[in-house]
């Protein structure tokens, strides 16, 4: 994955905040308060989200960005190891590249 360059830092931060909001909606505000969500947080190991929660999260991303990005296609191309290691940065980079 490409790294986010400083020029796009503001955009990346905005996407991060948005993703964090989606995670909050999926797992509940009171749980998120106790979690340290970072761009490097992986969904499975760090955030302990299970497959149903990851799918619910991806539906929110899809609903928000709509036709601008093929989020479902991108996610469905992932093999098991990529899914296990998927973190917020991967998604931020993907969305940044698409725009």
């Amino acid at each position: 994955m490409d790294t986010v360059t400083t020029g796009n830092q503001a955009a990346a931060t905005a996407i991060f905040d948005l993703l964090k909001q989606f995670i909050t909606e999926v797992i509940g505000e009171e749980f998120v308060e106790e979690m340290d969500i970072q761009p490097s947080s992986s969904f499975t190991r760090d955030l302990e989200m299970d497959s149903i929660e990851i799918v619910a999260f991806s539906e929110k991303v899809k609903a928000h960005f709509g036709e601008h990005i093929d989020f479902t296609g991108w996610l469905s191309g992932m093999d098991l190891d990529q899914l296990i290691n998927l973190n917020l940065n991967d998604i931020i980079n993907y969305i940044s590249v698409c725009r």
Partner: protein, 406 residues
């Protein structure tokens, strides 16, 4: 009359439905054998059922290996998508590889007309195909066959693991044999399984939960004195003690000294203190107990969920690993309960969730809708009839093959 061989992994949830199914086949005058690694299965078999125990001419090391397989799944704590990788790489593939020769040997000796292999016992399917024995598949964990539309690579990956093992066992080709194209019995209803369409050989036969022998001793007198509402808490057989201990501490905190009566399936040692409104037993006669309960808290094992729904009970589901997240998702989707995240939930969330499913009728109503859909499948009798049809359909072929051999 026919001979049926049922091939099971050493996993309670996968064995229990076959006990009901085998019992029905025995009642219909058939001969039924169970091919298993576990000698303890003998005591659970219905009268007349034969245990076809897999034994290798074993050194002590091999005996230890067998024992290791009997509790392999309890040794590690795994969570989420990670657990699928663990399940295949460290449990199913080595287990099938290990059992294959024994399954083949037992099939040769018992010479069944039809083999019934669990969907995770693909070595059984390979052996049956190699020996030209018609085989059916029993899908005791239906969520496992459900391709997640959003994450198709997960299912693809699973199929690749199975095909690789098949090749190793001498079955060429890229087609996974895990679900028989002659007959695949799915132990749920379409309504609970969800919208995904399945090809023709798949038959929904509902959960098969009748006729199970109950070995548990249970203090019914003490139970009857417990005031309603009564709930059951069960998180199955497959998790390690540390996980369970933490979980039960939260259960005790949530319900200790409340108006609820709580029956917990657990080793009592895992509780530091036992609240006065609790009854804790290693084993319970779950099927007899369910009609006298008002709600169930469980981990989303397919059997406990289906048994609860068969009694129209609302649930709080707390999935831990494997397909449980998916089963829990279905419970929520059909409106029969609420789910909590195993790692995140706190005692008060559990308490609130249970009180909510008890108080709001729509949960119970949704559970009753699923119960009706289960009843409409015909259950164990329908499953047995499908198996008999598979036998009759193949009988002339077998006769011809035998004749041709002479």
């Amino acid at each position: 009359m026919a001979k049926f061989a049922i091939i099971v992994p050493p996993l309670t949830g996968h064995i229990n439905p076959t006990l009901s199914l085998g019992s029905e086949l025995l009642d219909r005058g058939h001969e039924v054998g169970w091919i298993s690694l576990d000698p303890a299965l003998q005591d659970k078999l219905p009268a007349g059922g034969q245990l076809l125990l897999i034994r290798y001419d074993s050194s002590d090391a091999e005996k230890q290996e067998t024992e290791a397989y009997l509790d392999i799944i309890t040794r590690k704590s795994v969570y989420g998508i990670d657990s699928i990788k663990f399940l295949y790489e460290e449990v199913l593939v080595p287990l099938n590889r290990y059992m294959y020769a024994g399954i083949r040997e037992q099939l040769l000796q018992f010479a069944p007309n039809v083999a019934i292999a669990d969907h995770q016992m693909f070595a059984g399917a390979v052996a049956a195909r190699q020996l030209n024995i018609p085989y059916a598949t029993s899908v005791t964990a239906p969520a496992a066959i459900k391709v997640m539309q959003e994450l198709p690579k997960v299912h693809e990956w699973e199929q690749q693991q199975i095909v690789a093992l098949q090749k190793e066992l001498g079955w060429p080709g890229e087609q996974s044999l895990d679900c028989s194209d002659a007959l695949t019995l799915v132990f749920t209803s379409q309504l609970f399984f969800g919208e995904m369409a399945l090809p023709d050989p798949f038959r929904f036969v509902g959960p098969v939960i009748a006729n199970r022998k109950v070995a548990a001793t249970f203090d019914w007198q003490a139970f009857q004195q417990m005031p309603q509402p009564r709930i059951l808490v069960s998180i199955g057989t497959t998790f390690d003690h540390e996980h369970k201990r933490q979980f039960f501490a939260k259960v005790a905190e949530a319900f200790g000294d409340t108006e609820l009566s709580v029956v917990v399936v657990s080793d009592p040692e895992l509780f530091d203190t036992v609240p006065s409104n609790f009854m804790i037993q290693q084993r319970v006669p779950q099927l007899e107990l369910l009609p006298q309960l008002q709600a169930v808290v469980c981990h989303g094992g397919h059997n406990t969920v289906c048994e609860s729904l068969s009694h129209g009970l609302p649930m709080v589901v707390i999935p831990i690993a494997y397909d449980q997240s998916h089963v829990a998702g279905r419970v929520v989707r059909v409106g029969a309960g609420l789910r909590l995240n195993f790692n995140r939930f706190k005692a008060h969330h559990l308490k609130d969730a249970v009180l909510q499913v008890l108080a709001e009728d729509h949960f119970r109503n949704a559970a009753n809708l699923i119960r009706t859909s289960f009843e409409a499948t015909g259950g164990v009798k329908t499953a047995a009839a499908h198996l008999e049809t598979l036998f009759t359909r193949n009988a002339p072929v077998l006769a011809a093959a035998t004749t041709a051999a002479y």
